[in-house]
């Protein structure tokens, strides 16, 4: 068992509403290009949403697309792209020593709603209910589809962690690598949630669904006039390895996972708890052996709900005061809330800062909410800094789950 192995990220595969590859994604973030569409939501009319346009047939057959799920397809695309990016000689990899750990906010709503709609056209006679329903809706579906596509025979499962799930997938991978359960992991998160009206209706009736005449301005964390979440689909999976294995094969190392924490509010099913969020951040810092002033980028979870953004800013304010080198940004202002993929995609959004020294901004902040006016916020345009060596990635979710992941620039 290699309990203290250093864990590194060696490959990135992603699809976001504004990019289907890390370079395209990064370019749009640095140039301030959001890409939110307006989509027709079943029973609900048109709403802003982040839609991905990756080429699903790049890595799947049409029959696989027909029988599988959107989340599975996103996961396969991300895993295959990460694998290609990693430089791994796949034919030489022992597939029994590979794990797939995919964070999800939810899974199965899309497929269940579709089937209920299907049988509604047959007077709700369940003999018209598809036999594909169960393999599509089992909670491990997106991870399992990856194993079938890539011939992976090691462990696979999803990590249901609401919108903290993207970080949770990576944390699971790091833990399993340290335990010696696997030698390579595909880890991160995915979301297909724009295809379920239930998520839209739930947020709308909770007063937390964004609306704006211009879809690209609908997701506006920290803005005084923010009015809720833009729901998006997307995914990001990373190849994750033990440092010694990555070095041995001469891999390019994007970053090193330095610390993490997952904790629970234990207070409310939807309202965040800034004390627990701050506690989560502090534990992650302690495990990473870092002080707040050592963090160069804080990627905020902020989803543009009126209360949630303020609560997170309170948590951050208690920790990152007097930290002149700490910059704070938000990726959701470009791509909306990619739910289970959010943490992973937002990490992928910021990892290039280790090499280009630029911090992508938060956009759509026309009038900064005074309660969100943290020092270090990067607004409107990208900011070049002397050095980015650490990223602290916040991802929080319903039922009071908080996840914080700290990634550092690899220094050998």
């Amino acid at each position: 068992m290699a309990a203290h192995s250093r864990i590194v990220i060696t490959g990135i595969g992603l699809t976001a509403p504004n990019g289907n590859a890390p370079e395209e994604f990064r370019s749009n973030l640095l140039s301030g290009k959001a890409r939110i569409s307006e989509v027709e939501v079943r029973y609900m009319g048109r709403h802003p949403a982040g839609v991905c346009d990756f080429d699903a047939l790049r890595h799947q057959k049409r029959k696989e697309l027909r029988n599988g799920t959107r989340a599975g397809s996103i996961a396969i695309y991300c895993a295959r792209e990460a694998l290609g990016d990693s430089g791994l000689a796949w034919e030489n990899v022992n597939k029994a020593r590979v794990g797939v750990y995919v964070g999800i906010t939810e899974h199965g709503n899309v497929e269940t709603e579709n089937e209920i709609f299907n049988i509604s056209r047959f007077n709700y006679d369940t003999k018209f209910w598809t036999h594909h329903h169960n393999p599509r809706t089992v909670a491990n579906n997106p991870a399992g589809e990856v194993t079938m596509n890539l011939g992976i025979t090691g462990p696979h499962y999803t990590i249901g962690a609401a919108c903290a799930a993207g970080n949770a997938g990576l944390i699971q991978a790091a833990q399993m690598l340290q335990l010696g359960e696997v030698d390579l992991a595909f880890a991160g998160g995915v979301s297909e949630s724009i295809h379920t009206f239930g998520i839209f209706a739930g947020f709308k009736n909770q007063g937390a669904l964004a609306h704006h005449a211009d879809p690209n301005k609908a997701s506006r964390p920290f803005d005084r006039d923010r009015n809720g979440i833009v729901i998006s689909e997307g995914g990001a999976l990373f190849t994750v390895e033990r440092q010694e294995d990555a070095v041995r094969r001469g891999a390019h190392i994007y970053g090193e996972i330095l610390g993490w924490c997952i904790n629970s509010d234990a207070t409310n099913d939807v309202l965040p708890n800034p004390e627990r969020q701050a506690g989560c951040i502090r534990i992650a810092l302690e495990r990473a052996g870092l002080l707040p002033k050592d963090i160069h980028i804080v990627n905020t979870h902020a989803t543009a709900t009126p209360l949630g953004d303020i609560q997170e800013c309170r948590a951050l304010g208690t920790i990152f005061e007097n930290c002149p080198d700490t910059h704070i940004n938000n990726t959701k202002s470009f791509i909306g809330h990619c739910m289970g993929a959010a943490g992973a995609l937002e990490l992928a959004a910021n990892l290039p800062s280790f090499t280009d020294g630029i911090i992508h901004p938060t956009i759509n902040v026309d009038n900064l909410d005074p309660e969100c006016a943290l020092p270090g916020l990067v607004l409107h345009t990208a900011k070049r800094v002397d050095c980015v060596g650490t990223i602290l990635n916040n991802s929080f979710g319903m039922l009071g789950i908080n996840s914080v992941l700290i990634v550092g620039k690899y220094r050998g």
Partner: protein, 84 residues
Amino acid sequence: MTKEQVQKIVLNIIAEIAPDEDLSNVAPEVRLRDQLSLDSMDFLDIVMELRKKHGIEVPEADYPRLASLTSCGEYLLPKFLAKA
């Protein structure tokens, strides 16, 4: 309605559920599974599409009758005629 027309209906269903398959040279007498990449879930899809699109029921005991296009034509024609 003829057996050939029934075979065409089945072939169209297969085109839908197995869109990667080349169906231009399917031999009617040869078992479908021996010439196409179809599994048991695909045959359930054929049964479901017959039910949805044409109101045709195929009891589980009769699934082997769908083995080839020829057997499909022979087995399903009376059902289609009964629907007409």
